[in-house]
């Protein structure tokens, strides 16, 4: 099995989808000759030409609108938002139009578009270029929200998102682009709306998204030496959420820790927490559900502060230990 980086895996997904279906095209800022701000679309312009790899002016509303309009008239666009933070400029088109047209028009109209966004902190890009905004879109009916955590998942999930006949917000993480992993060459898909138990364990259920998945696995390795077994679950699709593997795990371990980079208050952790509490796993909880998430603050520039503003491996280890030891 050959190894690809997360970025290369995404590129391969786009390329294979575009080769298979001429309705698929990529539109965004600096994606043509520049190859995309994070290199995802490098080489695609040469392969598919400027009619299908479309550079745009700095017009996020225009990019989003282009996706909405072309999707509703038979195309399958992939829009790229260079930094996920810039999605605010496209909110009207995504939330008002793309998410709602089908419903408002009485279940007619299909909006098969994907918006890819590069989010997350750790590159010193500071407050306006480092956010994790996925939960805003979880809150909008009509959209689907996906967060791949590995190269394998990135390719499989993106191919599924492109095939999906609804708008998908596809949140990639900047620090993951260069990470490597086994990626099959064929056009495999990972179904949307399916959580995955990425590591089994009996002592604590850790539900993590995006870059927190690999950090949780690292923490699990450390804790295994202390005789503590973490079970790590990656929802992969935040909306629609596949609840069953999560609640089954909590029933088994009796304890849950949710880890995500986005700010804790109003973050997805609250949603998962409530889902667990409302499920039949409630009767098996032997400790409060804990959330480990970004501090309630804009991401700071200073490297050390930036590091401490979001959960790191050592934070996950610490929090897990506390839960196991009955501090909470």
């Amino acid at each position: 099995m050959r190894e690809l980086s997360y970025m290369e895996a995404l590129r391969e997904a786009i390329q294979q989808a575009m080769e298979k279906d001429e309705r698929v095209f990529l539109i965004g800022e600096d994606i043509g000759i520049y190859g995309g701000a994070f290199g995802v679309s490098a080489g695609l312009l040469e392969k598919f030409g400027p009619d299908r790899i479309i550079d745009t002016p700095i017009s996020e509303a225009g990019i989003a609108g282009a996706c909405v309009g072309s999707a509703v008239t038979g195309m399958r666009p992939i829009g790229e938002i260079q930094f996920s933070d810039f999605v605010v400029l496209a909110m009207e088109q995504l939330v008002m139009q793309g998410a709602k047209m089908r419903f408002m028009f009485g279940g007619k109209a299909e909006l098969p578009f994907v918006i890819r966004l590069a989010g997350g902190s750790g590159t010193g890009a500071a407050a306006q270029h480092s956010q994790s905004l996925e939960n805003w879109f979880v809150h909008v009916p009509g959209l689907k929200v996906v967060m791949p955590s590995s190269p394998y998942d990135a390719k499989g999930l993106l191919l599924s998102a492109i095939e999906e006949n609804n708008p998908v917000m596809f949140f990639e993480h900047k620090l993951l682009y260069k990470t490597k992993g086994d990626v099959p060459e064929d056009m495999y898909t990972i179904p949307l709306g399916k959580s995955k138990v990425v590591r089994e364990g009996k002592d604590l259920s850790v539900i993590a998204t995006s870059i927190m998945v690999s950090r949780s696995i690292e923490a699990a390795e450390i804790l295994l030496k202390e005789g503590i077994e973490l079970e790590v679950i990656d929802p992969r699709t935040l909306k629609p959420l596949d609840e069953e593997p999560i609640t089954a795990s909590v029933k088994k371990t009796g304890k849950a820790l949710i880890v995500h980079e986005a700010v804790k208050t109003g973050g997805f952790g609250g949603e998962i927490s409530a889902v667990i509490m409302e499920s039949d796993a409630f009767g098996y909880l032997d400790a409060p559900i804990r959330r480990l998430a970004g501090l309630d603050m804009p991401i700071p520039y200073n490297r050390t502060l930036e590091h401490h503003a979001v959960p790191q491996v050592e934070d996950i280890v610490e929090e897990a230990r506390k839960l196991i030891k009955g501090v909470y």
Partner: protein, 434 residues
């Protein structure tokens, strides 16, 4: 500046001391180093010295008070100095709580007291499980956990509640090990394991239940109380019965009627009574304040019934002839079997003999029958090959006598003497015919 006199900590784990004595009074002039009070820790009494020369003032605690270590118990004032302002207020407070505690006659550890005050509880409501019924912190916590209306609901995890509901275990008796005394699933599991009741849903079938009422209940309560309260010391002696048996045989061969024959039990009873006469400490009653040596010797003979045990009493066994004793024993046994015993038959026993020899028991330990202070367990007569006085092996008939004695009342030597006297009497049995 008023000098504080604090209750010193004499031991590492010591939390409090009791004031046994004030050697000085309020207003006395004392020298630095003078002993001014005597306090006791767990086992020993210690003196508290004056830290300075001056006038002993502001005594805050009285004799009998349990004072937490490092608490201020009094002050040394210099002439013209006044007590600190706060003294007047705090004096009242400690006096009040002292009163409450004194009134109730209940004591509690300092931490427990603090918690009681904090939560505005009535100390009378709380059961103490510490030494002498002292209330500990855990006791207060259990009380709080039970008292739903006060603290609201029980603090327990969902898992603990589910297990409690499934296994029919009440959470109110459990003190949790989680934060804030939260009951965790593990706590409930522990409770289930340690529970002596048969838990519903157990897969061992119950074929019969015996209600714990009446005689059974009385025996249960008495025996439990006896074991819990009296420290049982057991001594054992093997006594050769040949001489006594020979004498008995001779007496009985002269008897025509079978009913007139003297049983071995009667002889043993008489022998026990005589030994008690020589060792009155075993013929006594225990009370918290004093040990009562009793003037009469009434020996009870434990008798097994179908569904229980009663102890008819041979009154004044030391004074009755052995023949009479034997008759009485038979009569009582008969009436016991026919449930025709009267209250006076069972009352006022001062010592008990229990015999399981007829059940093939070689030796056993009996439980003292309160308020008595000793009990003699008699085993089966067995034949052993033992060296006689002349070192030649001979078959001897041996009965094993086991004495259980209350160590609060007597010590080993006293109990031993009773048994060795018993042995002497049985070895020279003629004295039993008197």
């Amino acid at each position: 500046m008023p000098k504080e006199i604090i209750m010193p900590k004499f031991g590492f784990t010591q939390e409090e001391s009791e004031i046994l004595e004030w050697l000085n009074e309020e207003g006395d002039k004392v020298e630095k180093g003078d002993p001014i009070a005597v306090v006791s820790t767990d086992k020993i009494s210690m003196e508290v010295e004056a830290p300075e020369t001056g006038i002993l003032s502001g005594i805050r605690y009285q004799i009998g008070d349990l004072v937490p270590v490092t608490e201020i118990i009094a002050y040394i004032l210099q002439p013209g100095e006044k007590l600190p302002e706060t003294e007047k207020k705090t004096e009242k407070k400690s006096g009040e709580s002292k009163k409450i505690i004194e009134k109730a006659g209940k004591s509690a550890t300092p931490i427990a007291k603090k918690l009681i005050e904090e939560k505005s509880l009535d100390i009378n409501d709380i059961t103490g499980t510490g030494e002498k019924g002292k209330i500990t912190k855990t006791d207060v916590e259990i009380f709080l956990a039970k008292k739903k209306g006060f603290t609201g609901k029980i603090n327990a995890t969902p898992a603990a509640r589910r297990i409690g509901a499934e296994e029919n275990v009440s959470l109110s008796e459990i003190v949790g090990s989680g934060p804030d005394s939260r009951i965790q699933a593990g706590d409930v599991h522990k409770k289930i394991l340690s529970s002596t009741k048969t838990v519903t849903g157990s897969d061992i079938p119950i074929v019969r239940t015996i209600p714990l009422i009446g005689m059974r209940k009385t025996i249960a309560q008495n025996m439990q109380r006896s074991m819990q309260e009296a420290p049982h010391m057991t001594l054992q002696i093997d006594i050769p019965m040949d001489a006594l048996e020979k004498m008995r045989k001779e007496i009985n061969s002269e008897q025509g009627k079978k009913s007139e024959r003297v049983s071995l039990t009667a002889f043993i009873t008489k022998a026990v009574a005589l030994s008690l006469k020589r060792n009155p400490i075993l013929n006594s009653q225990y009370s918290e304040k004093e040990i009562k040596i009793l003037g009469k010797i009434h020996v009870g003979i434990a008798t097994a019934l179908d569904d229980g045990l009663i102890v008819p009493v041979i009154h004044n066994a030391d004074q009755k002839e052995v023949r009479l004793i034997s008759k009485e024993i038979n009569d009582l046994a008969e009436r016991a079997r026919n449930a025709k015993l009267k209250p006076e038959d069972l009352s006022n026993g001062t010592f008990t003999i229990s015999n399981l020899g007829m059940f093939e028991i070689d030796r056993f330990t009996a439980i003292i029958n309160p308020p008595q202070t000793a009990i003699l367990a008699v085993g089966k007569m067995n034949r052993y090959l033992i060296p006689a006085d002349n070192d030649i092996l001979a078959i001897q008939k041996i009965i094993s006598f086991n004495l259980s004695a209350d160590h609060r009342v007597m010590d080993g030597a006293q109990a031993a003497k009773f048994l060795s006297d018993l042995k002497s009497i049985i070895l020279e049995p003629k004295v039993l015919l008197k």
